[in-house]
Symmetry: C2
Subunit: 241 residues, 2 copies
Protein backbone atom coordinates (compact mmCIF):
# COMPACT_ATOMS: atom_id res chain seq x y z
CA UNK A 1 0.00 0.00 0.00
CA UNK A 2 1.32 3.40 -0.83
CA UNK A 3 1.88 5.63 2.17
CA UNK A 4 -0.52 8.37 3.02
CA UNK A 5 1.04 11.48 1.53
CA UNK A 6 -0.19 14.89 2.51
CA UNK A 7 -2.40 16.66 -0.01
CA UNK A 8 -2.92 20.10 1.36
CA UNK A 9 -3.98 23.67 0.95
CA UNK A 10 -1.17 26.16 1.14
CA UNK A 11 -1.31 29.71 2.45
CA UNK A 12 0.97 32.65 3.07
CA UNK A 13 0.91 34.77 6.23
CA UNK A 14 2.64 38.11 6.56
CA UNK A 15 4.15 39.66 9.67
CA UNK A 16 4.54 43.36 8.92
CA UNK A 17 6.69 45.25 11.42
CA UNK A 18 6.48 48.96 12.17
CA UNK A 19 8.24 51.15 14.74
CA UNK A 20 6.02 53.54 16.68
CA UNK A 21 6.54 56.92 18.35
CA UNK A 22 6.91 55.25 21.75
CA UNK A 23 9.91 53.33 20.39
CA UNK A 24 8.09 50.04 20.26
CA UNK A 25 7.91 47.49 17.50
CA UNK A 26 4.39 46.94 16.21
CA UNK A 27 2.76 44.38 13.97
CA UNK A 28 -0.14 44.80 11.55
CA UNK A 29 -3.18 42.73 12.51
CA UNK A 30 -6.48 42.37 10.68
CA UNK A 31 -9.90 41.17 11.83
CA UNK A 32 -11.65 38.04 10.74
CA UNK A 33 -15.41 37.89 11.13
CA UNK A 34 -16.96 35.07 13.09
CA UNK A 35 -20.46 35.83 14.41
CA UNK A 36 -20.28 34.11 17.78
CA UNK A 37 -16.70 35.05 18.67
CA UNK A 38 -16.14 38.27 20.68
CA UNK A 39 -14.72 41.06 18.53
CA UNK A 40 -11.53 41.42 20.57
CA UNK A 41 -10.73 37.80 19.83
CA UNK A 42 -10.94 38.10 16.09
CA UNK A 43 -7.53 39.51 15.31
CA UNK A 44 -5.24 37.54 13.04
CA UNK A 45 -2.23 37.91 10.80
CA UNK A 46 -3.02 39.00 7.24
CA UNK A 47 -2.78 36.04 4.90
CA UNK A 48 -4.45 34.06 2.14
CA UNK A 49 -4.66 30.65 0.55
CA UNK A 50 -2.57 30.68 -2.59
CA UNK A 51 -4.17 30.29 -6.00
CA UNK A 52 -3.43 27.35 -8.22
CA UNK A 53 -1.34 29.41 -10.63
CA UNK A 54 0.56 31.37 -7.97
CA UNK A 55 4.06 31.01 -6.59
CA UNK A 56 4.26 31.71 -2.83
CA UNK A 57 6.32 34.89 -3.25
CA UNK A 58 3.70 36.25 -5.66
CA UNK A 59 0.93 35.36 -3.21
CA UNK A 60 2.74 37.18 -0.41
CA UNK A 61 3.12 40.28 -2.59
CA UNK A 62 -0.61 40.10 -3.31
CA UNK A 63 -1.49 39.79 0.39
CA UNK A 64 0.69 42.78 1.25
CA UNK A 65 -0.87 44.87 -1.49
CA UNK A 66 -4.40 43.89 -0.46
CA UNK A 67 -3.42 44.76 3.10
CA UNK A 68 -1.72 48.13 2.64
CA UNK A 69 -2.27 49.38 -0.88
CA UNK A 70 1.51 49.69 -1.14
CA UNK A 71 2.97 48.15 -4.26
CA UNK A 72 6.60 47.54 -3.34
CA UNK A 73 7.29 46.43 0.20
CA UNK A 74 10.39 44.78 1.61
CA UNK A 75 9.52 41.11 1.82
CA UNK A 76 11.36 38.12 3.22
CA UNK A 77 10.16 34.56 3.28
CA UNK A 78 11.30 33.09 6.57
CA UNK A 79 9.64 29.81 7.42
CA UNK A 80 7.14 27.15 6.44
CA UNK A 81 4.80 26.15 9.28
CA UNK A 82 3.33 22.69 8.77
CA UNK A 83 2.30 21.29 12.14
CA UNK A 84 -0.46 18.77 11.27
CA UNK A 85 -2.65 20.28 14.02
CA UNK A 86 -2.08 23.96 13.27
CA UNK A 87 -5.56 24.50 11.79
CA UNK A 88 -7.63 22.13 13.89
CA UNK A 89 -9.42 24.29 16.48
CA UNK A 90 -13.23 24.42 16.01
CA UNK A 91 -13.19 28.22 15.55
CA UNK A 92 -10.45 27.98 12.93
CA UNK A 93 -12.28 25.23 11.06
CA UNK A 94 -15.50 27.25 11.15
CA UNK A 95 -13.74 30.33 9.82
CA UNK A 96 -11.99 28.41 7.01
CA UNK A 97 -15.36 26.98 5.90
CA UNK A 98 -16.83 30.45 5.75
CA UNK A 99 -13.85 32.23 4.20
CA UNK A 100 -12.68 29.55 1.77
CA UNK A 101 -14.57 26.28 1.47
CA UNK A 102 -15.82 23.45 3.68
CA UNK A 103 -13.76 20.43 4.70
CA UNK A 104 -10.34 22.01 4.69
CA UNK A 105 -8.53 19.56 6.91
CA UNK A 106 -5.08 21.04 6.85
CA UNK A 107 -3.30 24.19 5.72
CA UNK A 108 0.46 24.51 5.49
CA UNK A 109 1.54 28.12 5.61
CA UNK A 110 4.62 29.96 4.43
CA UNK A 111 5.41 32.95 6.61
CA UNK A 112 6.84 36.25 5.40
CA UNK A 113 8.37 39.20 7.15
CA UNK A 114 7.81 42.72 5.92
CA UNK A 115 8.73 46.21 7.11
CA UNK A 116 6.70 49.39 6.91
CA UNK A 117 7.16 52.97 8.07
CA UNK A 118 4.43 53.35 10.69
CA UNK A 119 3.28 56.73 9.36
CA UNK A 120 2.68 55.31 5.89
CA UNK A 121 -0.98 55.50 4.89
CA UNK A 122 -2.60 52.07 5.00
CA UNK A 123 -5.14 51.72 2.25
CA UNK A 124 -6.49 48.22 2.35
CA UNK A 125 -8.58 47.02 -0.57
CA UNK A 126 -9.55 43.86 1.32
CA UNK A 127 -9.74 44.39 5.07
CA UNK A 128 -12.13 46.73 6.87
CA UNK A 129 -9.89 46.83 9.94
CA UNK A 130 -6.11 46.98 9.80
CA UNK A 131 -4.43 47.91 13.09
CA UNK A 132 -0.92 48.36 14.38
CA UNK A 133 -0.46 46.39 17.58
CA UNK A 134 2.61 46.76 19.86
CA UNK A 135 4.41 43.43 20.09
CA UNK A 136 4.12 43.34 23.88
CA UNK A 137 0.33 43.59 23.52
CA UNK A 138 -0.37 40.94 20.88
CA UNK A 139 -3.57 39.12 21.91
CA UNK A 140 -4.14 35.40 21.64
CA UNK A 141 -4.46 34.76 17.89
CA UNK A 142 -5.96 31.91 15.86
CA UNK A 143 -4.04 29.06 14.22
CA UNK A 144 -0.35 29.24 15.17
CA UNK A 145 -0.15 32.98 14.49
CA UNK A 146 1.37 33.74 17.91
CA UNK A 147 4.11 31.22 17.20
CA UNK A 148 4.68 32.73 13.75
CA UNK A 149 5.06 36.19 15.31
CA UNK A 150 7.50 34.89 17.92
CA UNK A 151 9.63 33.31 15.23
CA UNK A 152 9.40 36.39 13.03
CA UNK A 153 10.93 38.37 15.87
CA UNK A 154 13.90 36.00 16.03
CA UNK A 155 14.16 36.35 12.26
CA UNK A 156 14.21 40.14 12.27
CA UNK A 157 16.97 39.91 14.91
CA UNK A 158 19.07 37.76 12.61
CA UNK A 159 18.22 39.99 9.70
CA UNK A 160 19.48 43.18 11.35
CA UNK A 161 22.81 41.44 12.04
CA UNK A 162 23.30 40.46 8.40
CA UNK A 163 21.83 43.60 6.88
CA UNK A 164 21.86 46.62 9.14
CA UNK A 165 20.16 48.73 6.46
CA UNK A 166 16.75 47.18 7.17
CA UNK A 167 16.35 49.54 10.15
CA UNK A 168 15.95 52.40 7.69
CA UNK A 169 12.83 50.73 6.27
CA UNK A 170 11.26 51.26 9.70
CA UNK A 171 12.53 54.75 10.53
CA UNK A 172 11.14 57.98 9.09
CA UNK A 173 13.15 59.41 6.19
CA UNK A 174 14.81 61.85 8.56
CA UNK A 175 15.58 60.49 11.98
CA UNK A 176 17.65 61.24 15.05
CA UNK A 177 20.43 59.02 16.36
CA UNK A 178 18.26 58.54 19.44
CA UNK A 179 15.52 57.00 17.29
CA UNK A 180 18.05 54.80 15.52
CA UNK A 181 19.44 53.66 18.87
CA UNK A 182 15.97 52.92 20.27
CA UNK A 183 15.04 50.91 17.20
CA UNK A 184 18.29 48.96 17.24
CA UNK A 185 17.80 48.25 20.95
CA UNK A 186 14.22 47.13 20.35
CA UNK A 187 15.34 44.55 17.79
CA UNK A 188 18.82 43.40 18.71
CA UNK A 189 19.52 41.09 21.59
CA UNK A 190 22.83 42.85 22.13
CA UNK A 191 23.00 45.53 24.76
CA UNK A 192 24.99 48.31 23.21
CA UNK A 193 26.19 51.34 25.13
CA UNK A 194 24.63 54.61 23.95
CA UNK A 195 27.96 56.41 23.65
CA UNK A 196 29.59 53.56 21.74
CA UNK A 197 26.60 53.38 19.46
CA UNK A 198 26.81 57.09 18.72
CA UNK A 199 30.53 56.79 18.01
CA UNK A 200 30.04 53.78 15.74
CA UNK A 201 27.21 55.44 13.84
CA UNK A 202 29.26 58.61 13.30
CA UNK A 203 31.89 56.50 11.58
CA UNK A 204 29.36 55.28 8.98
CA UNK A 205 29.53 57.52 5.92
CA UNK A 206 26.09 56.37 4.76
CA UNK A 207 24.33 58.03 7.70
CA UNK A 208 24.34 61.67 6.73
CA UNK A 209 23.71 64.61 9.07
CA UNK A 210 21.14 67.15 7.87
CA UNK A 211 21.01 70.89 8.50
CA UNK A 212 17.92 70.44 10.58
CA UNK A 213 17.21 69.76 14.25
CA UNK A 214 14.13 68.62 16.13
CA UNK A 215 11.60 71.23 17.19
CA UNK A 216 9.02 71.19 19.98
CA UNK A 217 10.69 68.47 22.02
CA UNK A 218 11.02 68.31 25.81
CA UNK A 219 14.62 67.04 25.68
CA UNK A 220 17.57 68.75 24.00
CA UNK A 221 16.77 69.07 20.30
CA UNK A 222 18.75 66.54 18.31
CA UNK A 223 20.04 66.69 14.77
CA UNK A 224 18.25 64.84 11.99
CA UNK A 225 20.07 62.35 9.77
CA UNK A 226 19.24 60.54 6.57
CA UNK A 227 20.30 57.18 5.19
CA UNK A 228 22.14 56.96 1.86
CA UNK A 229 21.51 53.49 0.42
CA UNK A 230 24.02 53.93 -2.41
CA UNK A 231 26.86 54.72 0.00
CA UNK A 232 25.72 51.82 2.18
CA UNK A 233 26.00 49.37 -0.69
CA UNK A 234 29.54 50.52 -1.37
CA UNK A 235 30.51 50.15 2.29
CA UNK A 236 29.77 46.45 2.38
CA UNK A 237 32.27 45.39 5.02
CA UNK A 238 30.74 42.67 7.11
CA UNK A 239 32.93 41.57 9.93
CA UNK A 240 34.13 38.11 10.71
CA UNK A 241 32.96 37.13 14.16
CA UNK B 1 -17.54 31.40 -7.83
CA UNK B 2 -14.84 30.64 -5.33
CA UNK B 3 -11.30 31.09 -6.62
CA UNK B 4 -9.20 28.14 -7.58
CA UNK B 5 -7.04 27.48 -4.53
CA UNK B 6 -4.03 25.25 -4.77
CA UNK B 7 -4.41 21.76 -3.33
CA UNK B 8 -1.00 20.23 -3.50
CA UNK B 9 1.48 17.60 -2.51
CA UNK B 10 4.30 18.85 -0.34
CA UNK B 11 7.86 17.57 -0.23
CA UNK B 12 11.14 18.31 1.46
CA UNK B 13 14.50 18.38 -0.33
CA UNK B 14 17.84 18.40 1.44
CA UNK B 15 21.08 20.00 0.31
CA UNK B 16 23.85 18.37 2.36
CA UNK B 17 27.20 20.14 2.16
CA UNK B 18 30.58 18.54 2.73
CA UNK B 19 34.15 19.85 2.35
CA UNK B 20 36.58 17.60 0.50
CA UNK B 21 40.36 17.07 0.61
CA UNK B 22 40.80 19.29 -2.45
CA UNK B 23 39.26 22.16 -0.48
CA UNK B 24 36.05 22.13 -2.45
CA UNK B 25 32.47 22.20 -1.24
CA UNK B 26 30.51 19.11 -2.23
CA UNK B 27 26.85 18.17 -2.18
CA UNK B 28 25.26 14.76 -1.64
CA UNK B 29 23.31 13.54 -4.67
CA UNK B 30 21.27 10.36 -5.05
CA UNK B 31 20.06 8.50 -8.14
CA UNK B 32 16.49 8.11 -9.25
CA UNK B 33 15.68 5.22 -11.55
CA UNK B 34 13.99 5.91 -14.85
CA UNK B 35 14.46 3.17 -17.44
CA UNK B 36 14.80 5.24 -20.58
CA UNK B 37 16.90 8.05 -19.13
CA UNK B 38 20.71 7.73 -19.33
CA UNK B 39 22.24 6.91 -15.94
CA UNK B 40 24.37 10.04 -15.80
CA UNK B 41 21.19 12.10 -16.01
CA UNK B 42 19.46 10.51 -13.07
CA UNK B 43 21.07 12.39 -10.21
CA UNK B 44 18.82 14.39 -7.91
CA UNK B 45 18.69 15.93 -4.46
CA UNK B 46 17.57 13.57 -1.71
CA UNK B 47 13.96 14.30 -0.75
CA UNK B 48 10.52 12.89 -0.12
CA UNK B 49 6.85 13.73 -0.15
CA UNK B 50 5.74 14.36 3.41
CA UNK B 51 3.28 12.05 5.13
CA UNK B 52 -0.11 13.25 6.26
CA UNK B 53 0.86 13.21 9.94
CA UNK B 54 4.30 14.80 9.48
CA UNK B 55 5.56 18.30 10.09
CA UNK B 56 8.11 19.44 7.47
CA UNK B 57 11.01 19.53 9.96
CA UNK B 58 10.27 15.94 10.95
CA UNK B 59 10.12 14.89 7.30
CA UNK B 60 13.51 16.52 6.66
CA UNK B 61 15.03 14.67 9.63
CA UNK B 62 13.61 11.45 8.20
CA UNK B 63 15.05 12.13 4.74
CA UNK B 64 18.48 12.85 6.21
CA UNK B 65 18.41 9.68 8.28
CA UNK B 66 17.28 7.58 5.31
CA UNK B 67 20.07 9.21 3.32
CA UNK B 68 23.02 8.92 5.69
CA UNK B 69 22.09 6.68 8.61
CA UNK B 70 23.13 9.56 10.87
CA UNK B 71 20.58 10.40 13.54
CA UNK B 72 21.45 13.96 14.48
CA UNK B 73 22.52 16.26 11.69
CA UNK B 74 22.63 20.04 11.61
CA UNK B 75 19.53 21.06 9.75
CA UNK B 76 18.24 24.39 8.56
CA UNK B 77 15.04 25.07 6.69
CA UNK B 78 15.81 27.78 4.18
CA UNK B 79 13.15 28.21 1.54
CA UNK B 80 9.87 27.03 0.12
CA UNK B 81 9.93 26.54 -3.66
CA UNK B 82 6.47 26.74 -5.20
CA UNK B 83 6.81 27.67 -8.86
CA UNK B 84 3.63 26.24 -10.46
CA UNK B 85 5.77 24.73 -13.24
CA UNK B 86 8.55 23.24 -11.09
CA UNK B 87 7.37 19.64 -11.54
CA UNK B 88 6.02 19.74 -15.06
CA UNK B 89 8.68 18.18 -17.30
CA UNK B 90 7.64 14.83 -18.87
CA UNK B 91 10.51 12.96 -17.18
CA UNK B 92 9.64 14.41 -13.79
CA UNK B 93 5.96 13.53 -14.20
CA UNK B 94 6.90 9.99 -15.25
CA UNK B 95 9.17 9.58 -12.23
CA UNK B 96 6.56 10.92 -9.78
CA UNK B 97 4.00 8.42 -11.14
CA UNK B 98 6.43 5.59 -10.58
CA UNK B 99 7.82 6.71 -7.22
CA UNK B 100 4.64 8.06 -5.62
CA UNK B 101 1.36 7.90 -7.49
CA UNK B 102 -0.13 8.89 -10.84
CA UNK B 103 -1.61 12.30 -11.60
CA UNK B 104 0.51 14.40 -9.30
CA UNK B 105 0.05 17.77 -10.93
CA UNK B 106 2.09 19.91 -8.60
CA UNK B 107 4.53 19.56 -5.72
CA UNK B 108 5.58 22.42 -3.50
CA UNK B 109 8.88 21.71 -1.78
CA UNK B 110 10.51 23.00 1.36
CA UNK B 111 14.30 23.03 1.08
CA UNK B 112 16.74 22.30 3.89
CA UNK B 113 20.44 22.83 4.31
CA UNK B 114 22.57 20.34 6.19
CA UNK B 115 26.26 19.90 6.92
CA UNK B 116 28.30 16.71 7.11
CA UNK B 117 31.95 15.86 7.65
CA UNK B 118 32.95 14.34 4.32
CA UNK B 119 34.76 11.39 5.93
CA UNK B 120 31.67 10.37 7.86
CA UNK B 121 30.45 6.93 6.79
CA UNK B 122 27.28 7.19 4.70
CA UNK B 123 24.95 4.31 5.47
CA UNK B 124 21.79 4.86 3.48
CA UNK B 125 18.78 2.69 4.30
CA UNK B 126 16.93 3.99 1.24
CA UNK B 127 19.25 4.85 -1.63
CA UNK B 128 21.54 2.43 -3.48
CA UNK B 129 23.73 5.27 -4.70
CA UNK B 130 24.70 8.28 -2.60
CA UNK B 131 27.56 10.36 -3.99
CA UNK B 132 29.45 13.48 -3.04
CA UNK B 133 29.58 15.85 -5.99
CA UNK B 134 31.81 18.99 -6.08
CA UNK B 135 29.61 22.05 -6.45
CA UNK B 136 31.43 23.16 -9.60
CA UNK B 137 30.54 19.81 -11.22
CA UNK B 138 26.83 19.54 -10.39
CA UNK B 139 25.10 18.09 -13.49
CA UNK B 140 21.74 19.21 -14.83
CA UNK B 141 19.21 17.95 -12.26
CA UNK B 142 15.45 17.30 -12.41
CA UNK B 143 12.72 19.62 -11.10
CA UNK B 144 14.25 22.90 -9.87
CA UNK B 145 17.04 21.13 -7.98
CA UNK B 146 19.79 23.20 -9.61
CA UNK B 147 18.01 26.36 -8.52
CA UNK B 148 17.62 24.97 -4.99
CA UNK B 149 21.35 24.24 -4.84
CA UNK B 150 22.22 27.73 -6.09
CA UNK B 151 20.05 29.29 -3.41
CA UNK B 152 21.40 26.94 -0.74
CA UNK B 153 24.86 28.24 -1.51
CA UNK B 154 23.70 31.83 -0.91
CA UNK B 155 22.10 30.61 2.30
CA UNK B 156 25.25 28.93 3.62
CA UNK B 157 27.08 32.19 2.90
CA UNK B 158 24.63 34.12 5.03
CA UNK B 159 24.76 31.41 7.68
CA UNK B 160 28.54 31.56 8.09
CA UNK B 161 28.26 35.32 8.69
CA UNK B 162 25.70 34.92 11.47
CA UNK B 163 27.16 31.76 12.96
CA UNK B 164 30.82 31.19 12.23
CA UNK B 165 30.76 27.91 14.20
CA UNK B 166 29.04 26.06 11.34
CA UNK B 167 32.41 25.69 9.60
CA UNK B 168 33.41 23.21 12.30
CA UNK B 169 30.56 20.91 11.24
CA UNK B 170 32.37 20.57 7.92
CA UNK B 171 35.98 20.31 9.08
CA UNK B 172 37.56 17.19 10.60
CA UNK B 173 37.73 17.20 14.40
CA UNK B 174 41.36 18.25 14.23
CA UNK B 175 42.17 20.68 11.48
CA UNK B 176 44.88 23.09 10.39
CA UNK B 177 44.38 26.82 10.04
CA UNK B 178 45.07 26.32 6.33
CA UNK B 179 42.03 24.04 6.08
CA UNK B 180 39.91 26.52 8.02
CA UNK B 181 41.04 29.32 5.71
CA UNK B 182 40.32 27.27 2.58
CA UNK B 183 36.85 26.38 3.83
CA UNK B 184 36.06 29.96 4.82
CA UNK B 185 37.26 31.16 1.40
CA UNK B 186 35.15 28.51 -0.35
CA UNK B 187 32.00 29.74 1.36
CA UNK B 188 32.37 33.45 2.03
CA UNK B 189 32.13 36.06 -0.66
CA UNK B 190 34.65 38.16 1.24
CA UNK B 191 38.24 38.01 0.17
CA UNK B 192 40.24 37.84 3.34
CA UNK B 193 44.00 38.07 3.48
CA UNK B 194 45.72 34.89 4.75
CA UNK B 195 47.86 36.70 7.29
CA UNK B 196 44.93 38.70 8.67
CA UNK B 197 42.86 35.54 8.86
CA UNK B 198 45.56 33.78 10.82
CA UNK B 199 45.87 36.73 13.19
CA UNK B 200 42.11 36.91 13.71
CA UNK B 201 41.80 33.19 14.30
CA UNK B 202 44.62 33.22 16.86
CA UNK B 203 42.64 35.77 18.85
CA UNK B 204 39.68 33.36 19.18
CA UNK B 205 39.99 31.43 22.42
CA UNK B 206 37.61 28.74 21.17
CA UNK B 207 40.07 27.54 18.52
CA UNK B 208 42.57 25.55 20.52
CA UNK B 209 46.06 24.49 19.36
CA UNK B 210 46.89 20.80 19.84
CA UNK B 211 50.27 19.20 20.54
CA UNK B 212 50.22 17.61 17.14
CA UNK B 213 51.38 18.57 13.68
CA UNK B 214 50.67 17.20 10.22
CA UNK B 215 52.74 14.31 8.98
CA UNK B 216 53.54 13.17 5.45
CA UNK B 217 52.76 16.48 3.78
CA UNK B 218 54.65 18.09 0.92
CA UNK B 219 54.41 21.60 2.42
CA UNK B 220 55.65 22.68 5.85
CA UNK B 221 53.83 20.60 8.47
CA UNK B 222 51.19 22.70 10.18
CA UNK B 223 49.79 22.48 13.69
CA UNK B 224 46.41 20.90 14.33
CA UNK B 225 43.66 22.75 16.15
CA UNK B 226 40.31 21.82 17.63
CA UNK B 227 37.09 23.74 18.12
CA UNK B 228 35.64 24.22 21.61
CA UNK B 229 31.90 24.79 21.23
CA UNK B 230 31.39 25.71 24.90
CA UNK B 231 33.97 28.49 24.74
CA UNK B 232 32.45 29.63 21.45
CA UNK B 233 29.00 30.01 22.99
CA UNK B 234 30.46 32.16 25.76
CA UNK B 235 32.30 34.35 23.26
CA UNK B 236 29.16 35.47 21.48
CA UNK B 237 30.28 38.89 20.31
CA UNK B 238 28.72 39.60 16.97
CA UNK B 239 29.79 42.87 15.48
CA UNK B 240 27.62 45.68 14.32
CA UNK B 241 28.28 46.34 10.69
Amino acid sequence: MSPNFIHTYLSVDCVVFGFDHDNKLNILLVKRRLDDVPKEMQSKLPGSLIFSNEDVDVAAQRVLFELTGIKKMVLKQFKCFADPLRASSPDDIKWMSKEYKPNIDRIVTVAYLSLCKIDHKINSVKYVTVDWCPIDKIPSLPFDHNKIINESFLEIRRWIETDFSIVFELLPKKFTIRQLYQLYSAISEKKIDKKNFHKKISSFNYIIPLDEIESNVAHRAARYYKFDSKLFKKSNTKLLK
